[in-house]
């Protein structure tokens, strides 16, 4: 019967889900953090129960139809209506829900617990990028979090504009970033790597291009990164880049962007002190390369229409210098 096949088909698609979700790039079922791992565990339990429930109930539905189609008059005997309702509608669901409740309580209890040793990072949701600060070190960056593997981490999330939501599927669930109410996301990363995160709460015209990256490194590497970046970057060595620094100060750039240790102290746009070392540009809109940086500066509204960065009129020469300067900032 085609119906049987359809039920099998649904199960097959489910299996495909699992396969895809398991090996896909940034799947929440390929966890790299404590919270994502706990939740993935809860998911597999629920998935097993769900498969069971779906198949059993669907078989009953299809079976009832097949039985009912063969018959000429309603059946008087057999399983009573009450038995169906009690067993299928009440007892079995209650048992399954009980299991799920236990899983819920168990998983919830393990997550987001405060830890006084935690590394604290302040993240602010902006329109439409992420500002990142490491309190006590002076480090400021944007759209990329360097975090150590294995240490408890506490991300403090604030906003002075609209609501955003902080989500790195491979590390954990979402935490909303709400104006007037700091929220905390507490977790541990279990494996080094580069993990993509996004803004998950609709926040306006460029909500779609508000991604960020978490760069999880061994504690040693992280400490070295932190120590190196606590100091402002050194003067550009390269001649072209040095000229770029001057252009950067001269034209509109410095009004909105900061490069620590220079006169550029604007705060409307992302801090660019280490922009050359980042994985992506413009909050995940473009890959980070000299070519795409050039295209971006030349016409930001083409790649991110509605973003707050205006198109600054620059000669091709100036553009080249600025790109050289910015790519040198690591």
């Amino acid at each position: 019967m085609s119906r049987h096949r359809r039920v099998l088909g649904v199960a097959g698609v489910f299996a495909a889900t699992v396969a895809l979700a398991g090996c896909g790039g940034a799947s929440m079922l390929d966890p790299k953090g404590s919270e994502a791992r706990h939740i993935a565990g809860a998911w597999w339990v629920m998935f097993g129960l769900a498969m069971f429930v779906y198949v059993v109930v669907a078989v009953f539905i299809v079976g009832a139809v097949l039985r009912g189609r063969r018959r000429r008059r309603p059946e008087g005997s057999g399983i009573s209506d009450g038995a169906f309702v009690w067993v299928g509608g009440i007892i079995v669901p209650a048992l399954i829900l009980f299991v799920i409740a236990v899983v819920t309580v168990d998983t919830t209890a393990a997550l987001r617990k405060p830890d006084r040793r935690a590394l604290r990072v302040d993240v602010r949701g902006q329109d439409w990028w992420w500002e990142v600060r490491y309190p006590g070190t002076g480090i400021r960056t944007a759209n990329e979090l360097h975090l150590p593997v294995g240490r408890p981490i506490e991300v403090r999330l604030t906003s002075d504009n609209v609501i955003h939501s902080f989500w790195v599927p491979q590390i954990g669930g979402k935490v909303d970033v709400i104006p007037g109410q700091p929220n905390y996301f507490r977790f541990t990363i279990e494996k080094a790597g580069l993990y993509r995160g996004v803004c998950a709460e609709f926040c306006g015209v460029q909500h779609a291009n508000m991604a960020f990256y978490v760069r999880a490194e061994s504690p040693g590497l992280f400490d070295r990164w932190e120590a190196a970046h606590a100091q402002p970057p050194s003067e550009p060595a390269d001649e072209l880049a040095a000229q770029g620094a001057l252009v950067f100060q001269r034209v509109a750039c410095a009004g909105c962007h900061t490069v620590r240790g220079t006169q550029a102290v604007g705060t409307k746009g992302p801090d660019l002190t280490d922009v050359g070392s980042r994985h992506a540009l413009a909050a995940g809109t473009l890959e980070n390369s000299a070519a795409s940086l050039r295209r971006w500066i030349a016409d930001p509204q083409h790649y991110k229409p509605g973003a707050l960065m205006p198109q600054v009129p620059l000669s091709g020469d100036d553009l080249t210098k600025i790109v050289a300067y910015l790519t040198s900032l690591k």
Binding site: M28, T108, V162, Q181, A200, F202
Partner: protein
């Protein structure tokens, strides 16, 4: 007019033709504006709602084109945001809710065996308010500023600072405006069921659909005022500078979310309960037996109504509310699965021992079950607090609520269209085309929405106008787009089927499906007065158990005067006592009137005045509304 004496009328002056003369509306457009006939209004509700269904469906198709591949340029980001906001808003406010109210309007008086609603003019009024609110909302496209803050319009994104244009004013005012329609409609359903049931139609004999409309109405009465508060305070913030949701001055953005979801969560069940009621009408008829566990099913609907008020924080798990406080809502979210489980197995038991006939309405009911089963399961999953942290605001949730709101509400509605349309238009729809439409919709639906679960796992957030390639999202999105168009084609087949049947279909007999409830007692289409003589109900399945169906005569006393043809000839319908449904008086069905239209127009003008901040227009609306209202109450005094 020529005087033609027709012999059969001389014999019996209160013949059906004569009653029709008495009850019928003025001809043409005047009758269109003045009618208070619950059937005309109900059908019109359904047609109008479907216009909005097609409009917001088209918006969805364009959005799916934009998402068919990475970095597509079909829509600008602004347009995409406007499209998804309008899609969600009009599906919820202008299709799902009104179409169910339309079926309620059409069916409820007939299923309880009376001649109209308790407040026929109020009924017309709630229709006009719905139409004006819909036109108002869509007029935003004409002035180029449709709402763009998402269908739940979270502050502060939607306050004046971040949304300066009129976009959100259209949204906020429309929500308040249409709330009037929904609320007034619910009052009407409640009073009609309390006061107007046919003699013998006791509570334990009410059709399940009537029960579901009762639950619908109770939920509306207790939840809609709260969304009116949310949207109203938002508009006060926007138009008059109050500070309810401005954090810097003591306002709270979470307050808005609490108010919105206190309605928003029950709203899901407001839509869903009547849809379940429809399925509980269709399944027994095509299983040729009574619904298994009637009492259980009714109790489940009532339980859903209550429990759904304890689940709103469900939508706010990621807002940083302490887990301990949320776990209560997590638990309630799980518990609500039980009433649904009961209904599932009641339907299964019904078919298990019945004689199943796979007509188009039955196919839609079965498709609903297979889809809702999945939507219900993912519903349990999202009420698991930590899992919700992962999937909320992702495409997993988009998949989940489309399985619930499209699969579990729209499929039953299509089933209901195929089931009741013969009664409404007096012609049969094509079964072949209907089945083709069902299978196309079913396949297209799953193709469109199933992949979205996986997209959620892969980290795709909801409400993005585009995405980068290389994230593993491309193929699944393309699949979803193809599915959406397949689904739309299936819907188109049903539209063709309807248009064909409306003018060419075979005439429908009074009871084409051998169904059990009172609406099938009447001719197809039902005459204006519904029942010349009010039926006497002695069973939960009158048309199955009572053959021939007994009808009542008018008595000389005030209690029974409206029951028979004489009552119908005076345009009366009987009142019955609350619990036992014994004859207890009569009400007069009012004549067709412009008043509902005028009052609704007055409110529409007032709302438009608020939008453009023009005092004069606002005052004009107020005056128009006040005149309509005063005139209305005056008439009431004459014909109480």
């Amino acid at each position: 007019m020529a005087t033609i004496t027709r012999p059969e009328i001389v014999d019996d002056v209160l013949s059906d033709e004569r009653l029709e003369e008495i009850w019928k509306d003025p001809p043409g457009f005047i009758g269109f504006l003045k009618t208070v006939d619950h059937k005309r209004i109900g059908i019109r509700y359904i047609y109008t709602a479907f216009v909005f269904f097609f409009a917001s469906g088209l918006l969805a198709l364009v959005m799916r084109l934009q998402l068919a591949g990475p970095n597509m340029g079909v829509l600008s980001p602004e347009a995409y945001n406007e499209f998804f906001t309008m899609h969600g808003t009009s599906m919820i406010f202008l299709f799902n809710t009104p179409v169910l109210a339309g079926f309620g309007n059409y069916l409820l008086p007939m299923q309880i065996g009376t001649r109209d609603m308790a407040f026929p003019r109020l009924n017309a009024f709630s229709y006009w308010v719905f139409v004006f609110a819909g036109i108002f909302l869509y007029a935003s496209f004409l002035v180029g500023s449709p709402p763009n803050g998402g269908w739940f319009a979270y502050t502060p994104l939607t306050d004046r600072v971040y949304s300066a244009g009129q976009n959100l004013d259209f949204w906020g005012l429309a929500v308040v405006f249409i709330g009037i329609s929904t609320t007034v409609g619910a009052v009407n359903f409640l009073v009609t069921t309390i006061k107007l049931r046919a003699p013998g139609m006791t509570l334990n004999r009410l059709p399940v659909f009537v029960w579901s409309m009762l639950v619908f109405s109770f939920m509306v009465v207790f939840s809609v005022p709260v969304v009116t508060t949310a949207a109203g305070l938002l508009e006060l913030d926007r138009l008059f500078g109050t500070q309810f949701f401005v954090p810097a001055l003591g306002g709270s953005t979470l307050l808005y979310q609490h108010l919105f979801w206190f309605w928003g969560h029950p709203e899901v069940y407001i839509l869903f309960v009547p849809a379940q009621g429809m399925v509980s009408m269709i399944v027994p008829v095509f299983s040729r037996r009574a619904l298994a566990g009637y009492v259980w099913v009714v109790a489940s609907l009532v339980a859903i109504g209550f429990i759904s008020f304890g689940v709103w924080v469900h939508h706010m798990f990621a807002t940083g509310i302490p887990p301990l406080a949320i776990s209560f809502f997590s638990a309630v979210g799980l518990v609500i699965a039980i009433p649904s489980g009961i209904q599932f197995f009641a339907w299964i038991a019904t078919m298990w021992k019945g004689v199943v006939e796979l007509t188009t309405p039955m196919l839609f009911a079965l498709g609903f079950m297979l889809i809702f089963l999945l939507g219900g399961i993912t519903g349990v999953m999202v009420s698991v607090l930590p899992f919700d942290w992962q999937v909320t605001d992702s495409y997993f949730v988009v998949a989940h609520f489309h399985y619930v709101l499209n699969g579990a509400v729209v499929f039953p509605i299509f089933g209901a269209v195929y089931y009741w349309m013969p009664k409404m238009i007096g012609r049969m729809l094509s079964e072949r085309l209907g089945k083709a439409s069902f299978w196309t919709m079913f396949v297209g639906f799953n193709l469109a929405f199933f992949p979205m679960h996986i997209l959620g796992f892969l980290g795709m957030p909801r409400r993005v106008y585009t995405y980068q390639s290389g994230l593993g999202w491309d193929a699944l999105n393309l699949l979803a787009t193809i599915g959406a168009f397949v689904f739309a084609f299936g819907v188109l087949l049903s539209l063709v089927n309807f248009v064909w049947a409306r003018w060419r279909g075979a005439p429908a007999p009074p009871n084409p499906w051998q169904a059990d409830t009172l609406e099938w007692m009447t001719a197809s289409p039902t005459p204006e007065y519904n029942f010349a003589q009010i039926p006497v109900v002695e069973s939960r399945h009158p048309l199955w158990d009572q053959d021939p169906m007994p009808v009542s005569e008018s008595g000389g006393d005030p209690e029974t005067r409206a029951l028979g043809r004489e009552g119908a000839a005076r345009k009366e319908t009987p009142l019955t006592s609350g619990m036992r449904a014994e004859p207890a008086g009569a009400m007069t069905v009012p004549e067709p009137t412009y008043l509902p239209f005028v009052l609704a127009l007055g409110i529409a003008v007032l709302v438009a005045g608020l939008l453009v901040q023009a005092v004069l227009i606002g005052v004009l609306g107020l005056v128009l509304g006040a005149v309509g209202l005063v005139r209305w109450t005056w008439r009431t005094a004459e014909t109480p």
